[in-house]
């Protein structure tokens, strides 16, 4: 079993004032390391609209590289605009995954639209930054990766990685909508697409990780990190019938030697909810993101209410083997 030592909450969006688009939530953290700071992208929400519904934006905070609990800057505005009327990302750009490429920063993100029979649909969009990731311009109004015969809806949660010169996009796709107490809840599975240029993708059309938590298990945030000859995937999940309850989300783990075949072993994950009643993560740990900085391996993760009150940091003790 791995050992993650929790270092505490890094960022609480509810303490920020003067940004109406950043009222609460700091979801799905993703890092981009600079010389002096670590930029952590996250997704946030303004207050509910007149229909009682949220939209979501993505933004970032910059953390002092020498002290990750020291916030030195915060995005002045969302990193990209919501989509135009009728577009796949009209109501949200969440979550976002970032990678450096050709002196640019590329973003893969899930765009949200609202539907009639189910609450939403999502597809994966693409945008580029030429100002070190402060603002992003979309390549076009439509999605980069969307519904297909084996992935009929709700493509989301992209995590882009580059291994051995090839792009890998880990993401989730809807398996089915499960009606729980009259309300459709989505059951997602972790999927993979590969690409030589980051723009043209070939879907593998397979679930990467088997269920272990229960029927219709919904998986999210497939975060892949290479260490010691093995690809390590930390992800999170829940069972739709318990979605509205607390303590419903967990972090899972799978490993692979070839990025295609994955062996699930949640017993190794080494991070769980806190026992402390006052802690921000005593009900839930979710949306893991693992990164390396100055010889240390860290995990950013969300706490209670799926990051409504921010994200925390844990540090690996020992090795990922």
């Amino acid at each position: 079993m791995f050992k993650w030592n929790k270092l505490g909450k890094v960022f609480d969006p509810t303490t920020i004032t003067g940004k109406e688009w950043l009222h609460e939530y700091a979801q799905a953290p993703a890092t981009l390391v600079f010389d002096d700071f670590v930029r952590v992208y996250f997704s946030c929400r303004p207050e509910r609209d007149s229909n009682g519904q949220f939209v979501s934006y993505s933004a970032f905070v910059d953390l002092d590289r020498n002290n990750l609990f020291n916030i030195i800057d915060i995005a002045k505005q969302p990193i990209m605009e919501l989509g135009k009327k009728g577009c796949f990302d009209e109501f949200g750009t969440y979550p976002v995954s970032i990678i450096r490429e050709n002196n640019e920063v590329w973003a893969y993100y899930a765009g949200w639209t609202r539907c009639s029979s189910v609450p939403f649909n999502t597809a994966i969009g693409f945008a580029k930054s030429t100002d070190n990731g402060e603002t992003f311009k979309k390549l076009g109004d439509g999605p980069l990766l969307t519904y297909s015969p084996d992935e009929p809806f709700t493509l989301s949660g992209p995590k882009v990685r580059k291994f051995n010169g090839k792009f890998y996009l880990f993401y989730i796709a809807g398996d089915k909508w499960v009606v729980v107490n009259g309300r459709p809840e989505i059951s997602h599975k972790i999927r993979l697409a590969t690409s030589d240029d980051g723009l043209s993708w070939v879907k593998h059309n397979k679930d990467l990780v088997p269920d272990s938590w229960g029927e219709n298990e919904s998986q999210a945030s497939p975060d892949v990190f290479f260490a010691n000859g093995t690809y390590h995937m930390f992800f999170c999940g829940w069972v739709p019938s318990s979605f509205r309850k607390t303590k419903s989300r967990k972090i899972g783990y799978a490993s692979s030697k070839d990025l295609i075949h994955w062996t699930r072993d949640d017993s190794k994950v080494g991070i769980d909810i806190s026992d402390d009643n006052d802690s921000f993560d005593n009900e839930m740990v979710a949306y893991p993101h693992v990164f390396e900085l100055d010889g240390k391996v860290y995990m950013l993760y969300l706490g209670n209410e799926v990051g409504r009150y921010g994200f925390g940091l844990a540090q690996l003790e020992g090795e990922l083997i």
């Binding site: 135009k84 009327k85 009728g86 076009g140 084996d150 909508w177």
Partner: protein, 318 residues
């Protein structure tokens, strides 16, 4: 110059056996020529929640003179999609193409949205019984929105030319911002894609037919036939707004020709078919489908009110 002789309305919804199960409409008639008959698929409407309906595919079979209906479907030809799928709220139209001993069906799937009326995608289904029933290839679409075609991909028409699959289809350009008391209107154009297997497609990512009205002209339902060395396309087009009630802004048939399937010359004045002075196709003509049968070329189409009353047919005379 094309020249058409109108044979007249050959399907009337109100007097059809479909009236028992469906509310109205027989939209976008599309022909599949079989050994002893012509099977014409169309979409008809089932009542759903108030103000909404579901489009279902049905068919009628004609003799080769289009004088008699010799059979009709009384079963589910193709199922609508499951909860959350792209074709959950309707299939309109289904476009058939015979390939070997199979029939490929390209569907326009409809799913309702909140800020705009609907989103669409192109589905693919295969029939092994001459189009009586179609089995879908997966639950999702084979073609839908992409970076430069952000929504409303649909209305596929597929033919094999020179050993390659060619698809002519519709893609959305914009949804207008709704003004007070008005709904958001869509603008769409005609695109082209190619494929080696009929399933995996490469879009050209461009509008292939020039506008005649203005940049907000809506172009839909392309249908293409090769006659000699030349490819002929019919489609329908309309104004972005006002088209439902104002005859002068409603659907008309447009025409274009090409010798290479890439470059198209729009030439509506050579279409050779116009609104009738009175009757079922005097206010509107839309959803054309062109095909060859017994050495004659035919054009199926809808008339007034988007095919509420049924469809008709014309024969090419020169």
């Amino acid at each position: 110059m094309m020249k058409w002789e109108k044979i007249g309305q050959i399907f009337e919804f109100e007097t059809s056996p479909f009236k028992d199960r469906y509310v109205s409409h027989a939209q976008s008639p599309q022909a599949l020529v079989l050994e002893d008959r012509v099977r014409v698929f169309f979409s008809t409407r089932e009542a759903d929640q108030p103000g909404k309906f579901l489009s279902h595919v049905q068919y009628v079979d004609y003799d080769f003179e289009f004088k008699n209906i010799i059979d009709h479907s009384d079963h589910e030809v193709i199922a609508l999609g499951n909860l959350g799928c792209f074709d959950e709220h309707g299939i309109f139209p289904l476009s058939p193409v015979a390939v070997g001993d199979k029939v490929y069906g390209y569907t326009n799937g409809i799913a309702r949205r909140v800020s705009v009326a609907v989103e669409t995608g192109i589905g693919y289904a295969v029939s092994s019984d001459n189009g009586k029933t179609f089995q879908k290839y997966g639950e999702g679409p084979i073609m839908s929105a992409s970076i430069h075609e952000p929504f409303l991909v649909g209305d596929a028409f597929v033919r094999v030319f020179d050993g390659r699959f060619h698809m002519f289809y519709l893609f959305g350009k914009k949804w207008s911002q709704a003004t007070e008391g008005q709904v958001s209107e869509r603008v769409y154009k005609i695109g082209h894609a190619v494929s080696d297997d009929g399933i995996n497609w490469q879009k050209d990512n461009r509008s292939i037919i020039e506008d005649m009205i203005d940049e907000n002209e809506c172009q839909a339902l392309p249908t293409v036939i090769q006659l000699g060395e030349r490819y002929h396309m019919y489609f329908c087009y309309r104004h972005m707004a006002g088209f439902r009630t104002d005859k002068s802004k409603g659907y008309r048939l447009g025409y274009a020709y090409s010798d290479d399937l890439i470059n198209w010359t729009r030439d509506d004045k050579s279409a050779g078919i116009e609104l009738s002075d009175e009757g079922w196709d005097a206010d509107m003509m839309c959803y054309p489908n062109i095909f060859e049968c017994n050495s004659s070329v035919y054009l199926l189409y809808n008339g007034n009110d988007f095919g509420r009353s049924g469809f008709g047919i014309a024969r090419l005379t020169s």
